[in-house]
Amino acid sequence: MTPSPAPRRRRANGKLLRDLIRAREEKRGLLVAFEGPDGSGKTTQRKLFKSWLQSEGHEVVTTKWNSSLLVKPLVQARKTAHSLSPEEFCLLHAADFRYRLENEILPAMWQGKMVVADRFLFTALARDAARGLDLRWLLEVYYPLFWPDIVFYFSVSPETSGKRIASTRAPRFYEAGQDVTNIDDPLESYMRFIGRVIREYESLALIFQFVKVDAEQSIFDQHRLVRGLYNSGQRRPWAERNQEALLEWLNHHQEVVEK
């Protein structure tokens, strides 16, 4: 059988690109992800962390969950209409993630900017698994996985999460998992669903070695802890975990290679 041309060319470029990734190691920016259930306070901590990095002289880019100009409008319209099945919900978010990874996150890191992610692919793994989808299939959907340098996981109990959300507003339809719980009351549904999401998060925290932060502490204590953990964290070479995703991206972005 004749091999198709694209993989053949990729193999030829492989060594050059791997050398390029190694050479970029010292100049590249880091990716720090903030994960946790709704109401865990991760957005507050992400903002504080970003301000602190900027005060230290870093150029910082923030990327938020489901925020791409391409996919966000599609997701919003379908969420409003309550028309997404768990598979469709998963695949649209995966489309958004891959789009942001290749068009926002990787270019920024390559240029030496720090990237702070308000939720990362682990959000999808936890929520979609809580919706009953198979974790093995979910990992394929997000393949090749791209590992952040650090994942801060803000851990709260379902009760605290529910209280914090309910103090400001009613949970939204998909946030409350009403598509899978079939419970009419948003808060009741949320309390059932968030318990499942947190269980999935706790498993992921072990598998992916999240840095766990007790989100029941005061905002200041958490921030101080995040800074300390960030400073003491060990930097892993890109090639160790992310080579496949990087090669795929670089292979079609000659402008990066040529620079």
Partner: protein
């Protein structure tokens, strides 16, 4: 395929570059099935309007990479399976899915994505009872379809916008290599004239 006129609720996949050739083959197959007394319906690309909405809203922003396009196609297919294909099959209607899974896999292979990954993404989709590929060779280039009526042409139009460098003709070649030699689809010589005789 061992079918009789009385057997209903089959899933027939028509795969190819889309556009006019696909539309003609689909129409003729549907008509032939109906003439043969088989209740038949069609499930076409972008029933969920995802690609239509992207085409309308994505001007001036970076193009989606192939994996994103595959995710979007899979999402549209999940929608079609939920609202069109499975309900019709359950009612005993024969469904012509044009296109179905192999078209997306052929695009992904042309773009250099691993077959195992592509197959896994579409593992939620039922295996069709029969899969045909619609030949393109007889269709003039200017009649192959616009980005608005073909997944493949939509993808090419997106990829040409950059920022990545994608050789769309190379992807097209890879697409055909996959469909012709590596997919599970066969071409039926009488596709556009008497296909119904072979399926119903």
């Amino acid at each position: 395929m061992t079918t009789q006129a009385s057997v209903k609720g089959q899933l027939i996949a028509l795969e190819g570059t889309g556009g006019r050739s696909m539309a003609v083959a689909t129409r003729r197959l549907e008509r032939s099935l109906r003439h043969g007394g088989v209740s038949a319906g069609v499930s076409a690309w972008d029933a969920s309007d995802i690609f239509f909405q992207i085409a309308g809203g994505a001007r001036g922003i970076p193009a989606p990479p192939p994996r994103t396009l595959i995710h979007l196609y899979a999402c549209d297919l999940a929608f079609r399976l939920r609202w069109q294909i499975r309900p019709a099959l359950e009612e005993g209607t024969t469904v012509i899915a044009a296109p179905y899974v192999e078209t997306a896999i052929a695009f992904g292979r042309g773009a250099g994505l691993p077959q195992s990954w592509l197959r896994e993404i579409f593992s939620f989709a039922s295996t069709p009872d029969v899969c045909y590929r619609v030949p393109e060779s007889t269709i003039p280039v200017d009649r192959r379809g616009k980005p608005s009526d073909s997944f493949l042409e939509f993808c090419f139009a997106q990829l040409r916008n950059g920022p990545g460098h994608w050789e769309t003709e190379e992807i097209r070649r890879g697409f055909h290599i996959h469909l012709e030699s590596r997919s599970r689809c066969s071409v039926v010589p009488q596709l556009l004239t008497g296909l119904a005789a072979t399926v119903g």
